[in-house]
Each structure stands twice: as structure tokens, then as C-alpha cells.
Symmetry: D2
Subunit: 283 residues, 4 copies
């Protein structure tokens, strides 16, 4: 399956503003790219790339005052398979969690693990550990929390979601991640493209958040917002929570003026045309 | 100057408990060691070491039920000079902060930068940037917050400290770090040994927390708790906040039964004797 | 000056729902009424009235499932004068505050006075007590907080407003009230009609919130949202905070389907016609 | 049964300090008094009494700088019966709750009812309404929360207790009250004397907190801290939460220097002697 990816994000900046963008696909998906994954910045500006401590490909630059446009269009090959499910995936005892994943057991800004120990144990202590427990957490969050765009806010933490029971995709994942960590299951926040392949949906595309859990011997994708295996996720970044992997972090005032995301399945025979179209954008 | 360092920490564990300890001195201070820095675990147990994402030397092990004792005694050479002061150290524009330090501008569990933007700007926006501004932050926190052991609690965040105005050393640093980050100054939490060299003090030794700020071209030590240059800090770990660098993190119940820390200046001619004494402990 | 007052509020109720409404004008304004102040309930239902502990005229009833409409139209005489200003009004020492107003010095749900003592003293301790200090509080809140309907939420407290610096009229008042109480000035939340008499305004009418402060020997009107004397306030209720004086409190799910408020200056020679019109609604 | 009641509370005040004390027994218990219930203030000072909005007998005065001592000794007759239990007490539909008790369904400072709707319903929605549900709430809190004096703090709210699961008697009651209100059951905070009659106890006497719930046609005593019917409670005050009924509220700094409470069962034949002893104190 081929998926056309892209975005067009525009800010008005009242002053010189340093920015960090996590707008590339994750290094783990780079082998699947059929077109270059180039972050276009208009007006053109010097930008540098680096890999952050979580393994994400970041872009940083200092934007001039006025309008700035970040855009991209690329093409990626995807398995076309839904998120993998393995009900036999076992919980990994903390003592066996790889060193560099221990940090995904700890507190972070939006995941107050230290306030959820008892709550999580009361809710999920009776569920058998491993895949079933994570699935129970996902289903609980999916059932108890209601999706609502107007109820998003930047400071909303897992505890807020737990009491308010309403929010956007990041809120669902923060709560589920916090429950997992409180049960000693490594869990990390993920952000990327998720289209409407295979599901009825009429709304505008957006980036999406989901989360990953370390079971058996690897990370698995879970999504407390949709709570069903989905086709066509393209990972951009992972981190402890949304604070680590904001699509853009602006160190100063930045007023969003336009935001659109493309993530469309394209036919194989449309590839060549797509590549042409995409590369023309990139010129 | 020579400083004898050590600790004796004992827990009672009701069950098998995975633990992570940050009880080694920081790799940056290893060249100063005059004796090995060995974490003794009694009863003996397999432990492994690793360097975490922040550059700290960590020890992990799975403890058996019952009493566990973590202890150490080592000797280190120290400059004997107080924390360096450079009133001319300039603020680094965010665009010039090294890639791997950008994370020290973000939110973390106990440092809700996203809730402090306006507060910090109101308080410190008028102070000239660079060293003076960080010093103003330190002095503000030092003046406004009162030290009190009984007012410590594990979930206390910078916002709690800001409203309650009371706490322990970690609380002072969390608030100061949050103010710095809200002013776009990279700041990180530090933990280590700090004795009473050069200051009148009668209480028992303890580990201490301070913080580091990136100015000009390097990290500088600040301490909102004491707010005066001190002699004899020995760094153990740095991180985004106390969540990252807990002395010990237990994944399960762990009841602290004994806790003592040694950090004493020793005479040069006492070295050999000290080395002998220390190594006898380690046997 | 004559002011036509009214509202039309409609809910869909999935089940039998007990409700309390504070939709009458305050007893202190009843002498000014030129038409009866009748809460129309459709479909008609038994309702009873009572005066709550704060002196407000409340209506309670048990609504049947389905649509319920609460409406009213009445006419009131108003002085046409702006909120009274008395820059010489002195602060009342706590020892002299009347017994029944001491409760307006305490904590309430959205006014966490216990978390604001130091913040308030730092900000307003240097301002001379009395009117000037309250005015300084009002101006600070008015300047620092930005009005935004989408940023309202039911659980938002003064501390949230203080950190987020954005909200609706109730949020402005909660923060100002909390500052006042933290400075030992009795302050209470007020809700009522506030039209656009004398001010340019194009938006739809709404109920409004302001607050009252006890100085010298009486309560005075302040409004941290508008921060300028206004004409045509008609008080409906006072209480410790928005929790006490919600326009409607539903004990169960209640989905708001329509909400409109009328508060228009009418010409004196239109009175008779207005009375006729109003009473026809009430039939 | 006769119970000797009393207290000796001493503060050091750095400045003139207005104070309100709720140190009298509740008017509902006055008929049981065998000796006058006189609040002694040393040095003597003009004090006035009033009944607050919740029906409590309050004392207010303006204390001079220096040491102030509040003391009392009185004697009361008690039924000697444990808290009444009525498992058949039915829940009162909100529509039938008396007007003046509706306020005990609302939010208050330490009882964030608006954040507990879903939590309470998940935990207690399946329990049959009425006495059984309140008892289930009490038992849940009693089981899940651990008593610990050092974990008290003035700003601790029900949500804090729910996440931290540790606290003192006021914390237990705040959480239970919040659960009740979230289930539409009127609940109010109560404070008073509670000795160790009939229970093994070796600690020093203290005032205690419990709570009252409106079921059937009256208020009933519950106690999430002890969760068993107790003998010898003597009510002092009721309110929405601890903010309303603090034993003493000081409008300024007040450093507690001594605190002791007496609540001892005395033999009937000791009455006369007791009266004599008590009145000698009062002289």
C-alpha cells in the first residue's frame, strides 16, 4: 500500500522565534520512503537536524518575524496490515526491561505516575498481566473518556483526563500510558500520521497520537482513542509524553494560521504521477 | 582537599523488588577518585550498571525479600574551591543551545513550565538576561521559600512549592528550574554530596539537590536552597527533575530502615589510613 | 432608566432531573420591578421557591424527561448611574467585619485562598489598603488575564486562572476574589444581568459575573473583567463563588439546547407597551 | 454517661490578630450540659459570640500580640450509646432534600465534587442507594486510605486524598463527603470531641472529624476514619468542609505552642467533685 503524506502548517510570528519541529517520519520508517521526506520552510531559512534522546529526527531553526510556512509531501510504502495483535505477549518483569527503556516507567509532565499507583492497581490489578492488562487499560480509557476537540488544553494531564473524562487523542493516550507505568509496564507516547483507511470518517485529516507498550521483547502499538487495530499509521516520534514530541515547539509567541495534514492511500499505478507531483512541490 | 564519601542505606522489602540506584558519583568526577567507587549490596546480589540518557551511572538489580543494605565509602580529591561565579556569563539564545540540551527547556513532572510562563515573566522579565537573571531567580526562591523537612512529599511540584512556600532542597531547585525554563534558560536538576565544609552546621549529613544552568558555553552550578557558593559538592547525577535522578527507585514496596550519608573533609596525611579503612568496609 | 430583562433557556433531559435555578433578580432589587419577575417553566411543573443561606431567591423543581424551557421577561427601573466609586472607602479590619460576612474571607471551591497568601501579599502588599488595593487587584487581573469563551471549563479555579491567564468573566472574578480574601478583604461572587448600555458591543447578551467587596460599611461592586464602572447591572445572586450561584444546577444530565438573554434599555414611553408585551409572554 | 470535656490551646502571636474560634459544643448538645461551656481566654479579652450560617456557635475576638491561651473544662451527659445505625434508611431524592440542606450537595474547597462524578459512579453506582451506599463509601475510604499524622497538610483536598491514599481524620471525611455528594447524597463535615470510650487507645486526646449524611428524614453520623459506631461523640460544629469549621481561624500569623484536649468518661458519683474541679479552673 502506498500512502501520500504531507502537511501545510503556517504561523504568524510577531518576533524572531526559535522553533523545534518533529515533522519528519521516524528513522525506523525511513526505509519505506519512496520520495524524500523534506521539510519545506517558506521563506527559506537555515535549519539543522538532529536526533534527540528518544531517537526522533528533529529540525531546529530560528524563524524571522512574519508568516512562516512548514510543508511537505512525501510518499511511503506501508504493509497495509493493521496494528499487530499478540494476545500472548507477556509482561516483562521490570528487572528485565532493557536499560534504555526504564525511563518509560517514570513520571513525566502529563503522566503523574506517582498519583496513580493505587488507582491503577484497584482498576487493573485483577487482570492477568501482559497483553490482556494493557488491552484492559485501553478499553477502560476508550469507554470512559469521551472525545471532544473543544475540551483540549495544553496543560491537561492524565489526572485531569481521569477526572474530567473528556479530551482529544493525546489525552486518551496520556491516561493509558500513566496506568501502564503505574502497573510497571513501560509505555511511551507516539505521534504520527493516521488516516482513515478502512474506517468510515468524514473529518479533516490531522496528526494523531497513540502509544507503545513494551511487552515480551519489543514495543507494540496501542491506541486508547480508537481501541481497534488500524491500518496506515506512520510513526513520526516517540517520547515520554506530548511534551517531548510536540509537532512544533516555539520559544516565543506563534499564532497558528493554517493547519492541514494529508495522509491518503494512493493507487500503485498512481505512484509515478505522485512522485512527480510531490517532487514539484519540493522544488 | 580530600573528601571521604559514603552512605549506608537499608530497606526492608516485603517481596522481590527491582531497583535502580543512582549511587555512584557522576562520570565527570571519576578522574578525581582516590579509591574505587563501589556500591556494596548486602546480601550480595547480581547488579548491572548502565549509563542513562542523561549521562548518569546507574546500577540496577532485583532485590530479594528481606533487609537489603546499600553502602559505600570512597575518597575523592576536590579543588576545595567554592562554586564558580561568573557574573558576565551571557544567556544563550535558544537557537544556539546545543541540541542535546534543548530537553532542559521543556516541561517535566515536577517542573510545569507550561503553567509558569506569565508568572516567571512578571517576576524576572525586567532583570537583565544571563547570570543576573538566574541569580535573581535563585535569590527569589531562597527568600520566599522556607526550609522544612516535615513539609516534603513525593508528589510536590514546582507549582505546589510556589503556592506553599515551604519544602526541602529538591523543592527549592524544582521551583528555580521551572522559572529558568519558563524564561528559556536551560536548567537541569542535580543531586550529589554536599558537606558542611566552610559553613556552620550541626545536623546529620544527607544527599543534597542543586541545579545547573546553561549560560555562555557551559553548565554552571546554582543552589536555590543555600544561595551561596559552597565548597565540596560532588555530583552524582543530573536530569530533568527529581523523577529522573532518584537516589533509589523501587518498583514495589520498600521500607526505609536506615539512612546515613558521610561527606567529610579529611586531612591529606590521613589518606592512607582512610584508604585502608574504606577498603576494609568493602571486603 | 428602564431595562427590559429576560431569558429563554432550554434543556433536553434524558431522565427525571431535579434542578435548582437562580433566575430571579435579587431580593434587594425587587422594589425596582415594574413587572412581575416570574420564572416560566414549560411544560408547566410544580416549583417552589426559597431563600438560600446567602439571601438569594432560588427556585427548585423536578423536571420530567424531554425538553424543558425556562423563560422570563420583566421590566425594572434602574438609576442609570454607573457603579459607584469611592476611592476613600477604607478597609475594614477583620475584627470589625460583620459576623455574617466573615464567611467571605474563607476558602471556597474555586477560590483557594490557602494557596494564595504569599502570592497576593507579594503583588498587593505594598498598595495602600482599602479601595486602592481592591482597584489594584482588579486592574492586575484585568490586564493579565485574556478573555476567551473557548477557554471556559467548569472545574477552572482561581489557581488555574492565575497560571493560564485566560478565561471568561467568572474566571476573572474568581481570581480577583481570591486575591482579596488572601489580603483579608471580604469578597463575594455576584451574578446578574449586564447589558451594553453606554459601551460599544456587538455580541449576544449573556448573564454576567462580577464581584462585591466589603469596604467601609457596605458592599461595593467591582468587575475584574471590564474594570470600569458600568451602567445597568441587575443583581441576581451572591455567593462564595460560582458553585453557590450557578444559574441552574442540574442533578443529572442536562443538555443545553437554547440560551438567550435579554437586557435592553427601553424608552420610558415604551413602558406600557412593554408591560403588555411581557405579560402576554407570561400567559 | 458523663463526659468531662476540655482543651488548652496556646498560641504565640507576633501581632494583633483577629481570630474566630469554634470551640463551643454545638447548640444541639447544649441541653446535655451539666456545667457551663465557657471559653476562657487568657489574658482576658473582649470576645463576642454569634451563630454562623451553618448553625454553629462561634466566638470572635481580636487577640493582642504575645501568648494567648484558650481553655475550657465542662461536663456533659451523654446517652452512652454508640452512633445510631439504620440500615433501612433510604436515600432522599434530591427533589425532596430540604431547601437549607441543598448546599451540602455542592462543591466546596476541599470537596471537588465536580471532579468526582465519574469516579464515584464507577465505584458506588452498583451499590443499592441509601444507607448501604454510604456505608460502602465509608468502608472504601477506610480500607483504601492509611492514617498518618505527618501526612496532614492544610491544602489537602479530596482529590489529593484519593490519589495519595494517606492522611488524617479530616482527609478521610473529605473524601467520603465528596463521594456522597457526587452520588447526590447530602453530606456535611462535622467536628467535635471523640474520646476512646470502649476502644483500646493509648494516644493523646484530640478533636476529631467525622461527617453526617442526610438519609430518610434526618442527619446520621458516619466516620470514614474509624468506620465503626463509637460512643461519646460530642458535636461542636458542622459545615461544608474543614474550611468552614476550623477550630480556630487566625487572620494573621499564629504559632501553636500548646495543644491538649480532654474527653474522659467520668463516674456518676464523681460528678459533684468534677463540677467543683471544673469551676475552679474557670475562676
Amino acid at each position: 500500500m502506498l500512502i501520500r503524506l504531507g502537511y501545510d502548517i503556517q504561523f504568524d510570528l510577531p518576533a524572531i522565534t526559535p522553533m523545534v519541529a518533529l515533522l519528519h517520519i521516524h528513522p525506523s520508517r525511513e526505509p519505506d520512503l519512496l520520495e524524500p521526506d523534506v521539510l519545506q520552510i517558506d521563506p527559506p531559512i537555515d535549519a539543522t537536524e538532529y536526533i534527540d534522546g528518544f531517537g526522533n529526527r528533529c529540525t531546529r531553526f530560528v524563524a524571522q518575524p512574519g508568516r512562516i510556512r512548514l510543508s511537505n509531501s512525501t510518499l511511503i510504502a506501508d504493509s497495509g496490515l493493521p496494528d499487530e495483535v499478540n494476545e500472548h505477549a507477556r509482561e516483562v518483569p521490570v528487572g528485565d526491561v532493557p536499560d534504555n527503556f526504564l525511563c518509560y516507567l517514570l513520571n513525566s509532565r502529563y503522566c503523574e505516575v506517582d498519583r496513580f499507583s493505587s488507582i491503577a492497581f484497584d482498576l487493573f490489578g485483577h487482570v492477568s498481566p501482559g497483553w490482556a492488562r494493557v488491552q484492559a487499560i485501553c478499553s477502560w480509557v476508550n469507554t470512559k473518556v469521551r472525545f471532544s476537540y473543544p475540551h483540549a488544553r495544553p496543560t491537561k494531564s492524565a489526572l485531569d483526563v481521569y477526572t474530567e473524562r473528556i479530551g482529544v487523542c493525546r489525552d486518551f493516550q496520556h491516561l493509558a500510558i500513566t496506568f501502564c507505568r503505574a502497573m510497571n509496564i513501560p509505555a511511551r507516547y507516539a505521534t504520527g500520521y493516521l488516516g482513515d483507511i478502512g474506517v468510515p470518517y468524514g473529518g479533516p485529516m490531522d496528526f494523531s497520537a497513540w502509544f507503545e507498550v513494551y511487552l515480551e521483547d519489543r514495543w507494540w502499538t496501542f491506541d486508547a482513542r480508537h481501541n481497534t487495530p488500524r491500518i496506515g499509521r506512520v510513526l513520526m516520534a516517540v517520547g515520554r509524553d506530548a511534551s517531548d514530541v510536540a509537532i512544533t515547539t516555539s520559544f516565543g509567541e506563534a499564532n497558528l494560521k493554517h493547519f492541514s495534514v494529508v495522509t491518503d492511500q494512493v493507487q500503485a499505478d498512481a505512484t509515478e504521477e505522485a512522485v512527480a507531483a510531490a517532487s514539484s512541490i519540493g522544488r
